[in-house]
Symmetry: C2
Subunit: 191 residues, 2 copies
């Protein structure tokens, strides 16, 4: 087995892809984002890495709130579009239907199976990036995406992003191969 | 369309799942991790959120280096096992075949299609967690996972993790639904 070095600078994958939303000068704006993650369990804090100059960031800074909206494969064209054009150049406020939760300044996307409103708890500048630490306040979905009251991936159909080389692609989720904190116990039994 | 609130505290998904590795007291140890992400493009910095008490973290602190190894579905049982037991209780040094890159203290997994060695650039304490900022030094793979010199997801078969409810599952990647920075241009043309 011979290992080779891969020169291309890539990111971990497959990634969830989200539409991050904010109100900029009172208008909803959305940007496609893959550089975010959960940081802690309780409180439920997420970390988002975003360029300081992004139009969406202007709104996050103004309001201290943001939304994260998870599209399904039906929304792939609009999702990609929101990553192609800046709100500075194009008004993206009418691409989706909008609703609001408790925060009132975090625009949520009706068409997305899962929409989350978050409140900023800390911002940290790292050269031309800002790390945003934000707490999940509310998670919204619809009955049709649930099974026994829990989100069901078979129903909400998450979109995955993968960019192993200079070209990036959106994928559907495939076959389930095992249950976590469970399938590995067979190695414990072998001991 | 009626939105409902979801009470369960969940994480973004689908997530890449990785085996994070370090040398603890000179022995390779691996832990399954999903809370990590890329932070910046150049330099290629990743952020990892890890509990301070994890055995793997002891090794990262000692050496200032770590590895991130991406398993395929064939490795799902061993991957889950590494998340079930701590290196404090079980020696996990012989579960995988190991190789080393330039860093010498970041144990890399031969069986994983993609293995990355990273050097810690900063650590930040957040209550019982540590945020590790680490720079990607080398990415290793094998010819059989490449097409025209680039990593090919059809060949290396990434494992995705999804935990939309209290139970978590590992999935294969599904069907490709569109190319990023491309499929959305059709909305530009419509304008």
């Amino acid at each position: 087995m011979k290992k080779v070095k891969i020169e291309h600078k890539y990111a971990p994958f497959p990634k969830p892809i989200a539409l991050i939303g904010s109100l900029v000068d009172g208008k909803p704006n959305f940007m496609t984002i893959a550089w975010f993650n959960r940081m802690s369990m309780s409180p439920n804090i997420w970390m988002i890495s975003i360029g300081k100059n992004h139009y969406t960031f202007k709104g996050i800074k103004e309001n201290g709130t943001l939304s994260m909206n998870f599209p399904n494969p039906d929304l792939v064209i609009k999702t990609d579009y929101c990553g192609l054009v800046s709100g500075r150049e194009k008004d993206k406020s009418d691409i989706f239907s909008i609703f609001y939760g408790e925060l009132k300044t975090a625009p949520l996307i009706v068409e997305c199976p899962i929409s989350i409103e978050l409140e900023v708890v800390e911002m940290m500048e790292k050269e031309d990036l800002v790390l945003i630490f934000a707490e999940v306040k509310n998670i919204f979905s619809e009955e049709k995406y649930l099974t026994n009251g829990e989100l069901d991936p078979i129903k909400f159909k998450p979109l995955a992003f993968i960019k192993p080389n200079p070209e990036g692609y959106y994928y559907k989720l495939g076959q389930r191969v095992g249950q976590a904190w469970s399938i590995g116990t067979q190695l414990l039994k072998e001991e």
